[in-house]
């Protein structure tokens, strides 16, 4: 089993859960450790209960794991909810002045901090947090200078007095732990690696910048708003026009308008906003102007559970907008992939002049992962497809005057695309059905032959897209007892579940789907023909991917594991469910999430 260490910090919104989380994350990252962070929170700005899990280790940490090693409850509520989930070897650091512990399992160390004795709480409102960080780091055998360095950065803007105050409080916690608490059995490891700590939203925004996005617009909607925040903060440095628009209908239309000029344009939203964008996606396909749209899924339907994760928008995306049209849909596999996918999907959208859709979710959007800086490649391949610009010969365009056909019927279905401002290529792009030169068919006469030819032209792109996208591959041992099938963000947790199953003598392999459209159904069938037992795992109620796979291939798996309580899968949810299914107890497992946040 991989060596990992997980910290859970719980408290009310506004109590400062995020700051200790950031401090721990920075210290782990600077020790060369990987980390994965997930914040379970409520849709309120103050109060309620939030619980941040940070899991770290020398190897890749793909998910939040099953176990908390160090619990830091910032209020009684967090103590009551989480203490009974700790197991032997874990510790709980808490403010002894305000919080009473319940009964803990054998082998769990309770670490009460006499906060008012150690710090002047009238001056320092977050003293309990800082003391706990200091104490915790001592127990992990992390040297104090690492914490001092981060605190100095954290409070840089507030001046030397505030820095000294907080370093002093942290030191008091550190020393108190040395005198009173038992350190963890294994000291926190250290490596020479260096990682960036990235959220999925930041990764997708940076991926957009790397892809050459020049126009980004959005309407705020959790959990996608982080993309807007990164874009807005970095717009001037990156030369990106960022606009906040009146609604998501305006967003998609504004993005398509910008894209029509020839720039790369992107927007992000969640399921509700995506619903409003549907008609615009049809326009993108019809006028053949590429645009990239990100849907950061949250639990639906309707307003649903705004701060919780789900994979419930697949069918919305498959069916978005009326009529048949070519589209590309991809679901990033992890936060690093959130970055990498954006330039890839822009190249495809540009080549095939159709919408490129990214199906992300809250787990990745708001989660954080250590990513190697080399994996944040700002020089990815860029392919604009058959775009006519002044740079590639449009200046000699005069002879084409009057003869240019924007929607020329070609074997590939792709027609060379000229943008407004070029002499000699004047044309109208219309959402009405049109003929090759852009003239509306309905304005001339109703013409079934032209309509059919134009429909077939557009839909011929589907074959090209399929050829341009690789089929999925099976990972793990061949001829396994069980094949676990997932899509998008469940990649990491399924990978760990497979490792745990293999350690426990059940050989398991994994088929994770990244490209949803095109699906490569034949290739998937070929892989699954060799599987003994197949289970589809997804974060929704109805098995949206299972239904999609069946509709495309007629494939029916041996069983399903589904979760739709708003929280992501933990590895043991999958491991336990696989075991009960292999024992023949059920074909549908719906694991219960133990920590009620």
């Amino acid at each position: 089993m991989k060596q990992t260490f997980a910290i859970g910090i719980g408290g009310a919104a506004g109590q400062g859960v995020a700051t200790p989380g950031d401090i721990f994350a920075k210290i782990f990252s600077r020790r060369g450790l990987n980390l994965n962070a997930y914040n379970a929170y409520q849709s309120i700005i103050r109060g309620g209960h939030t619980f941040l899990t940070i899991r770290t280790g020398p190897e890749k940490v793909t998910n939040m794991g099953d176990r908390i090693d160090l619990l830091i409850p910032l209020n009684q509520d967090s103590m009551d909810r989480h203490l009974n989930l700790l197991t032997a070897g874990a510790s709980c650091i808490y403010n002894a002045d305000t919080i009473k512990p319940g009964s803990a399992a054998d082998g769990v160390q309770l670490c009460p901090l006499p906060v008012s004795e150690l710090a002047d709480i009238t001056r320092n409102k977050i003293a309990q947090n800082t003391l706990a960080i200091g104490a915790g780091l001592h127990m992990m055998a992390v040297g104090f200078p690492a914490l001092e360095e981060v605190l100095r950065e954290q409070f840089k803007k507030k001046g030397d007095a505030v820095i000294a105050e907080n370093v002093g409080v942290a030191r008091a916690g550190y020393d108190y732990a040395a005198a009173h608490f038992t350190a963890f059995a294994k000291p926190l490891p250290k490596t020479d690696n260096r990682y960036a700590i990235v959220s999925g939203n930041t990764a997708m925004a940076m991926g957009g910048a790397a892809a050459g996005v020049k126009f980004y617009c959005a309407y705020p909607m959790s959990p996608s708003t982080g993309v807007l925040h990164w874009m807005a903060a970095h717009a001037r440095k990156a030369g990106i026009m960022v606009r906040q628009v009146e609604d998501e209908i305006g967003v998609i239309n504004m993005a398509i308008g910008a894209a029509h000029s020839g720039v790369r344009a992107m927007c992000a939203t969640s399921g509700g906003g995506f619903a409003l964008m549907s008609e615009g996606l049809g326009m993108s396909a019809m006028i053949e102007t590429p645009v990239v749209v990100i849907d950061c899924q949250r639990a639906g339907p309707s307003t649903g559970v705004p701060t919780k994760t789900e994979q419930g928008d697949l069918w919305q995306m498959l069916g978005a907008a009326f009529g048949d049209y070519p589209r590309i849909i991809a679901a990033p596999l992890d936060i690093g992939d959130c970055f990498k996918l954006i330039p890839e999907i822009f190249n495809l959208a540009d080549r095939f002049q159709c919408p490129g859709l990214v199906l992300c979710d809250l787990l990745l959007s708001e989660g954080r992962l250590s990513v190697h800086p080399n994996d944040l490649d700002f020089s990815p391949p860029i392919d604009r497809g058959e775009l006519i610009t002044t740079a590639n010969g449009a200046s000699s365009a005069a002879p084409t005057n009057g003869g240019y056909k924007r929607y020329k019927i070609t074997e590939s279905g792709i027609s060379p695309r000229a943008v407004p401002g070029l002499p000699g290529y004047v044309h109208t792009a219309a959402t009405d059905e049109h003929q090759e030169d852009g003239v509306l068919i309905s304005d001339e006469f109703t013409n079934p032959i032209k309509r059919r030819a134009m429909m077939e032209k557009r839909m011929r792109k589907v074959a090209g897209i399929e050829a341009a996208v690789p089929p999925p591959v099976l990972s793990g041992p061949p001829n396994a007892d069980v094949t676990l099938i997932g899509w998008g963000s469940t990649s990491g947790v399924i990978e760990e579940a497979c490792e745990l199953l293999n350690e426990q003598g059940i050989s398991a392999n994994q088929l994770q789907i990244r490209w949803l459209v095109p699906l490569h159904g034949e290739a998937i069938l070929e892989i699954l023909r060799g599987s003994r037992h197949t289970i589809i795992i997804e974060n929704n109620y109805s098995g949206q991917f299972a239904r999609y796979l069946r509709s495309e291939t007629s494939f029916v798996p041996s069983g399903h594991i589904r979760k739709y309580d708003g929280e992501p899968f933990m590895p043991h949810h999958i491991v336990d469910a696989v075991k009960e299914q292999l024992a023949g107890n059920t074909k549908l497992s719906v694991p219960m999430h133990e920590i009620m946040v």
């Binding site: 126009f215 960022v242 910008a258 700002f378 401002g421 304005d443």
Partner: protein
């Protein structure tokens, strides 16, 4: 519009004739708007490849196909949003947005209000016929109270929107009303609207000869009075413009209600565009900037 608008040496009405002929009903007010638009463009001598005519959906929204400029025939109500994106990505282009009252004030009302407060640099011409024509005659946001249509056969009970007052309240920086039956006057207003830097709104009475039997040419002709004929009227006076905008009945003002030139355009206020249009930029983020983005996260 932009100060650096290119001018071509010669442009004729024939140059501006679109690939298709209009399919409007004979006598439709939109013919007059199309003709006035083409005349205005001929007089302004802006090269047609630097103009984009963008519309929504409806009878009048078919206009981009009838004028030989770059064109976009977008979705019902969405022309202004599309136009805003296009202008921000390439602000060297001259943007004309055309459509009807249902498209602009009904389904597109949200974008209408926000485009005006943003002062997007474009001319928005609404061919206002106070009826839904392409859907064969239903009540529109500008239909008068009492008007009988297929959707309100016992008479409209909803008060109409006042496009001029709305535009004044929303912050449009050029606001005018024209009449399809007053060609020279309309052409002049279109020219002024194109030359204005900022959001130019031009509401044009464009009678529907098929479905609106209340607001006909005959009904408008004796009523329309040009603001330009009143020497006391000052289009810089917002309050006076608001007062005149409320006039409706025996006398209906047309002409330039309001203009101010001291408000920055949306593209002019955005420092990201200081180095020129986005469409001409290198796609790559400079390596040192990219490095700084990653270092922030370490």
């Amino acid at each position: 519009m932009a100060t650096s608008v290119q001018r071509t040496s010669q442009l004729t009405m024939a140059d501006l004739k679109g690939k298709a002929d209009p399919d409007w009903c004979p006598g439709c007010g939109d013919f007059g708007v199309l003709a006035a638009l083409q005349k205005a463009l001929v007089e302004l001598r802006i090269p047609n490849h630097n103009i984009v005519t963008i519309s929504g959906i409806g009878c009048s929204s078919n206009l981009p196909g009838y004028v030989n400029t770059y064109g976009m025939h977008t979705l019902h109500g969405r022309a202004l949003a599309v136009a805003t994106g296009l202008k921000l990505a390439n602000h060297e282009l001259t943007i004309l947005v055309t459509g009807g009252d249902g498209d602009g004030f009904g389904i597109g009302g949200n974008h209408f209000v926000h485009s005006m407060r943003r002062n997007v640099d474009l001319l928005y011409i609404v061919m206002d016929n106070q009826i839904y024509g392409l859907t064969t005659g239903q009540t529109s946001p500008t239909s008068r109270v009492g008007m009988k249509t297929k959707s309100m056969p016992f008479g409209n009970i909803e008060a109409p929107v006042n496009p001029i007052s709305l535009a004044l309240a929303a912050g449009a920086t050029f606001i005018a009303r024209g009449f399809s039956g007053e060609q020279k006057h309309l052409t002049e207003l279109i020219k002024q609207g194109i030359e204005h830097r900022g959001f130019s709104f031009l509401d044009v009475f464009s009678p529907c000869v098929t479905y609106n039997h209340d607001n006909t040419y005959q009904w408008f002709r004796p009523r329309v009075k040009k603001l330009e004929d009143d020497p006391a009227y000052d289009p810089a006076d917002w309050t006076a413009a608001m007062e005149r905008s409320l006039l409706w009945g025996e006398e209906i003002p047309i002409g330039k209600f309001f203009e101010r030139t001291d408000v920055p355009t949306l593209h002019g206020a955005e420092p990201v565009l200081n180095e020129g249009p986005l469409v001409h930029r290198d796609l790559r983020v400079p390596p040192d900037v990219a490095r700084s983005f990653i270092e922030e996260l370490m």
